[in-house]
């Protein structure tokens, strides 16, 4: 019934070209040669010349490969049967479970009508003061962790995932090291969360094109759960690998790069995924927590740069701590006005004073005499770093706020903090 072709005109990178008629843009095909068979997707049509991106990679595809068009675009099975399962980027089982082909849903579907979104109002508690006080995470937020290679971003993701009160966790791994994949699997399993988790994992050893599918598949599944009123947390790690896969395809297709080899539509491509984060008016929600590793620790690199413009803030992870400067939760003001009356004040004051501390350490390192004020700042900064910033601290928001007052009172007089008198009267520890 479906058309089958036997002649590949040219092969470049992971893209093959054939001559065929009646083919649809984005249609799937099955490419079979001696070395095996793979799905492929139409990425360009020019007259009867059809370009296909081969999911398993074009390596080993012969010029006489058989190309069978399927008349549909990419789909993935959906249902509660996904829970606890682990798949590849191409949605094939990575665990010992059965191959699934029931209840197929489209991936990369249309975006949510903004009129069907509501303003997010629910705080996601993480027990990490640098998040809960200073950059509160909010349900339906899309937020990446910016870090250079080697920072403990995956453990941070896992920790937040386990602490957050969500119904479903979806892990999308892209270019994940096998060890990291096992780390996620074991951590989720030990904590008993695996049974509410679905994993789509592309490891560094898998074909690059499958890496491109991971966000779309993960988010399509998340969207269906959310439509069933579930609160879904999607973890995407590492989106820089996704962007690099996009770059590779763009270069193969001879697109003119805009910046350091990345295609001009990198922003739109990333946004199409991140904007799936949503709080539905009348259904559940999707929260996206991602990792964007920063090549060369450079935030102006096109991937973190474009990401920052799309996401609702970012957490900078540096030297194993969440940096207060640069880190931002754009949704924090949706929730931090309703937590406790001193929340915003503690947040602003402690950061401003910490900025003062950083300046003072600079002065100190240049050998300047420390004023009385400098000495206070130094004492404050050390305690802030040890008692607030350290990632091993795990306390609820309220306790963290109390701790904030205690640190301030141990280091300063009320007036020096710039806190309105009304609040110091109420909260300043005597």
């Amino acid at each position: 019934m479906h058309k089958v072709y036997h002649r590949v005109e040219s092969i470049a990178g992971n893209v093959i070209n054939i001559r065929a008629t009646g083919i649809k843009y984005r249609e799937l095909a099955e490419v079979t040669s001696r070395s095996g068979s793979s799905l492929a997707q139409v990425i360009q049509l020019r007259g009867d010349l059809v370009s296909l991106q081969v999911f398993a990679g074009a390596r080993g595809v012969a010029t006489d490969a058989q190309v069978r068009f399927l008349g549909r675009s990419m789909e993935v099975p959906f249902g509660d049967f996904l829970l606890g399962r682990i798949f590849t980027g191409g949605a094939q089982p990575r665990d010992k479970g059965p191959v699934l082909s029931e209840n197929l849903i489209q991936i990369g579907g249309p975006s949510v009508n903004p009129a069907k979104r509501i303003i997010p109002k629910k705080m996601v508690r993480t027990g990490i003061p640098m998040i809960d006080i200073f950059n509160t995470l909010v349900e339906s937020q899309k937020l990446p962790v910016f870090a250079r290679a080697g920072e403990p971003y995956n453990p941070l993701l896992a920790r937040i995932a386990l602490q957050a009160e969500v119904d479903i966790i979806i892990l999308g791994g892209m270019g994940l090291k096998h060890d990291d994949y096992l780390y996620f699997r074991d951590t989720l399993e030990e904590s008993g969360a695996l049974s509410r988790t679905v994993m789509f994992v592309h490891t560094a050893a898998d074909p690059i094109v499958e890496c491109l599918l991971v966000p779309d598949i993960s988010l399509a599944v998340a969207e269906q759960f959310a439509l069933q009123n579930k609160r879904v947390l999607v973890l995407l790690t590492d989106m820089t690998n996704f962007a690099d896969a996009l770059k590779e395809i763009a270069i193969t297709m001879e697109q003119i790069p805009s910046n350091r080899g990345y295609p001009g539509d990198l922003y739109s491509q990333l946004a199409a995924r991140y904007e799936k984060a949503v709080e539905f008016d009348g259904a559940g929600s999707i929260t996206i927590l991602a990792v964007t590793s920063m090549p060369g620790d450079d935030v102006t690199h096109p991937v973190p740069d474009n990401t920052g413009y799309i996401t609702e803030g970012q957490f900078y992870l540096r030297n194993g701590r969440i940096e207060p400067f640069g880190s931002l939760s754009r949704l924090k003001q949706q929730v931090n006005g309703d937590t406790r009356s001193d929340h915003r004040t503690i947040m602003n004051t402690m950061i401003q004073l910490y900025a003062g501390f950083r300046e003072t350490t600079e002065k100190q390192s240049m050998g300047f005499r420390m004023s009385a004020w400098d000495t206070k700042l130094l004492k404050y900064g050390e305690r802030f770093e040890k008692e607030m910033m350290d990632l091993s601290v795990n306390i609820p928001l309220e306790e963290a706020l109390d701790l904030g007052w205690k640190i301030l009172a141990d280091c300063f007089e009320p007036m020096e903090t710039g806190i309105p008198s009304k609040l110091t009267d109420q909260y300043w520890p005597s």
Partner: protein, 577 residues
């Protein structure tokens, strides 16, 4: 004109190449047929019998040989009463109605009427039968919310006409005939309240353009006092991500002293539009006592919506602005972010395989940006009244570096530049407009001498601050140290403003004049302190008190009290000369 039709011969992303019969024009709209679905597209290039078209929808499953039907029309919007309070996508589809029809998602191929046909409007003719009229002159009015909406002779009607009929006062719908006019050849034309206008063509049914000279008060102190915007002026807000571009536009859209605000959410986050969309109906406009939504139109083409429609969205927005300007209103158009629109141009240019300019933007980027901002301006209408469009666009430069094509092209054409600085936003000094780099060509709400003084202290204070990092406090004279403290003081209490505080968020022009007067006196005072530590403590306290003052309503008795306290505090440390 008979409409052409064609067949798809190529698909590349959101671009299709169509082989057509008949005549096709640049920017003409056509529909690609996919089964029952009709996907809207616009001609962006014609070569021989091939038209390249950007499709305003996802192109998945379009194939070679699929039919394209051309319409003969340029991409246009509907104009008439009923635009205010609407939330449209970039092609003027009303999003709430789409949600009713399609549910949660923006399924492709659905196009709805922009202006509701059934709404009754209370028509009062203001012209008379026998009057000579031309495009843009008012025939009558209908109340639209808080405004008198002028029903004008449609802009597309060239030449001179005579009114032969005006409907009696009463209730009419937008498609009812409310007037008839006779052209110079004697042919009669019917006029309704509804007209269409191509978005890429400026509306110019006015007498002349005027210089923007009156301030547009935003109630943001650093803007109105230091880097003002004029009614009919243009300005841009470049800044790295997270520096506060969107928040600044949000507060401007709430508090600006204008009649109508058109928000073009162009390729940015949907969540930010949702905030406006959900909050505005609940907020009262202090000018009118009515809901803020009553003066607002939202054009929303967020980052995951189709890229080609993103390009259209800014033109849709500026066309609606032009329509209300023709009624003599002051319209503010806020576009967030113009860089996304430029990127949409870049994506299409890449697919067209045009020769790329810098950072792969097309060579015509500058002229496209210039002609967009040219659509702003203050005008004298044909009946002598004036109207204006003020355009404020954010720019999102790659890597936060202003030395890039979109920022540079924009700076060449705008009248004010509000550059946001990463250093200021990191230090939570909001709004993070850089007081030393920004500029404006428009007049301020306060006296220019006072600004020069404050600016001098800010500049010197910054320099001394830099110097102190090298030589330390002990190497700085107490005089210099005082300049530094004064600079920090103006920054903290005047330049910085708390967007989330009910009172501090919006400072009226009068209050700015008054407060800035007091602050100028403080800056001028020659204070004497025993040592730097005492000086620092004094300024801590002064800052605290002034901030408290900022948070008090001008009508509150505390306002005078705090003002006096400030004056006293300063006189206590001032040398009696």
């Amino acid at each position: 004109m008979s409409e052409a039709s064609g067949k798809i011969v190529g698909v590349n992303g959101n671009m299709i190449t169509v082989e057509f019969d008949g005549a096709v024009s640049q920017n003409e709209v056509g529909f690609a047929c996919l089964g029952d679905l009709r996907l809207m597209a616009e001609v962006v290039r014609v070569r021989g019998s091939l038209a390249d078209m950007q499709v305003f929808e996802d192109t998945a499953l379009l194939g070679i040989g699929d039919i394209v039907e051309f319409t003969g029309d340029l991409l246009s919007v509907e104009l008439g009463p009923g635009l205010l309070t609407q939330v449209y996508d970039g092609l003027q589809n009303p999003l709430p109605e789409l949600a009713e029809k399609c549910g949660f998602f923006l399924d492709r191929g659905n196009y709805l009427e922009a202006i509701p046909r059934g709404t009754p409007w209370e028509w009062t003719p203001t012209a008379k039968v026998g009057d000579k009229v031309s495009a843009g002159l008012t025939l009558g009015q209908v109340p639209e919310g808080i405004f008198q909406h002028h029903i004008m002779l449609p802009f597309a009607m060239d030449g001179n006409y005579e009114i032969t009929y005006l409907a009696e006062p009463g209730t009419y719908r937008v498609e009812d005939v409310i007037a008839k006019v006779k052209d110079e050849k004697g042919a009669e034309h019917e006029v309704t309240m509804l007209q269409r206008w191509p978005v890429k063509v400026p509306i110019q049914a006015y007498q002349e353009r005027l210089r923007p000279s009156e301030p547009m008060v935003t109630k943001v102190r650093i803007i109105d006092t230091f880097f003002p915007v004029a009614l009919g002026g243009t300005y841009c807000i470049p800044g790295p991500f997270g520096a506060g571009k969107t928040v600044l536009q949000q507060i401007t859209s709430r508090y600006a002293d204008v009649d109508i605000v058109i928000l073009a959410a162009c390729g940015e986050r949907a969540g930010e539009v949702v905030e406006t969309l959900r909050e505005f109906p609940e907020l009262t406009d202090p000018r009118t006592g009515k809901s803020l939504m009553d003066r607002t139109v939202i054009i929303c083409n967020t980052s995951s919506m189709p890229v080609a429609a993103r390009e259209a969205s800014v033109y849709t927005a500026v066309t609606l602005a032009g329509y209300y300007r023709q009624m003599g209103m002051n319209v503010l158009l806020l576009a967030d972010s113009t860089s996304r629109w430029a990127q949409a141009l870049r994506e299409m240019s890449g697919r067209l395989e045009e020769i790329p300019g810098e950072e792969a933007f097309p060579a015509y980027l500058e002229s496209v940006i210039a002609s967009f901002y040219e659509r702003g301006g203050r005008v004298r209408l044909k009946d002598g009244r004036t109207g204006s469009i003020t355009i404020g666009g954010t720019v999102s430069p790659a890597g936060g570096n202003f030395d890039e094509p979109v920022t540079q092209a924009t700076l060449k054409v705008v009248g004010a530049f509000h550059g946001l600085s990463r250093a200021r936003s990191d230090a939570r000094r909001y709004p993070a407009i850089d007081p030393l780099d920004s500029w404006s060509k428009y007049p301020s709400v306060v006296n220019p001498d006072q600004i020069d003084l404050a600016r001098g202290i800010l500049r010197d204070g910054t320099e001394i601050g830099q110097m102190m990092k090298v030589v330390g406090e002990e190497g700085t004279s107490i005089e210099d140290f005082l300049v530094y403290l004064k600079g920090e003081y103006v920054d903290a209490v005047y330049l910085q403003q708390d967007a989330y505080h009910d009172i501090d968020a919006a400072t009226s022009a009068d209050r700015q004049k008054m407060v800035f007067g007091v602050i100028t006196d403080i800056l001028k005072a020659s204070m004497v302190f025993d040592d730097k530590e005492t000086a620092r403590r004094f300024f801590h306290q002064l800052t605290q008190t002034t901030k408290d003052w900022n948070r008090v309503d001008i009508e509150d008795p505390q306002f005078e009290e705090l003002k006096n306290r400030l004056v006293n505090m300063v006189s206590e440390v001032t040398a009696n000369a």
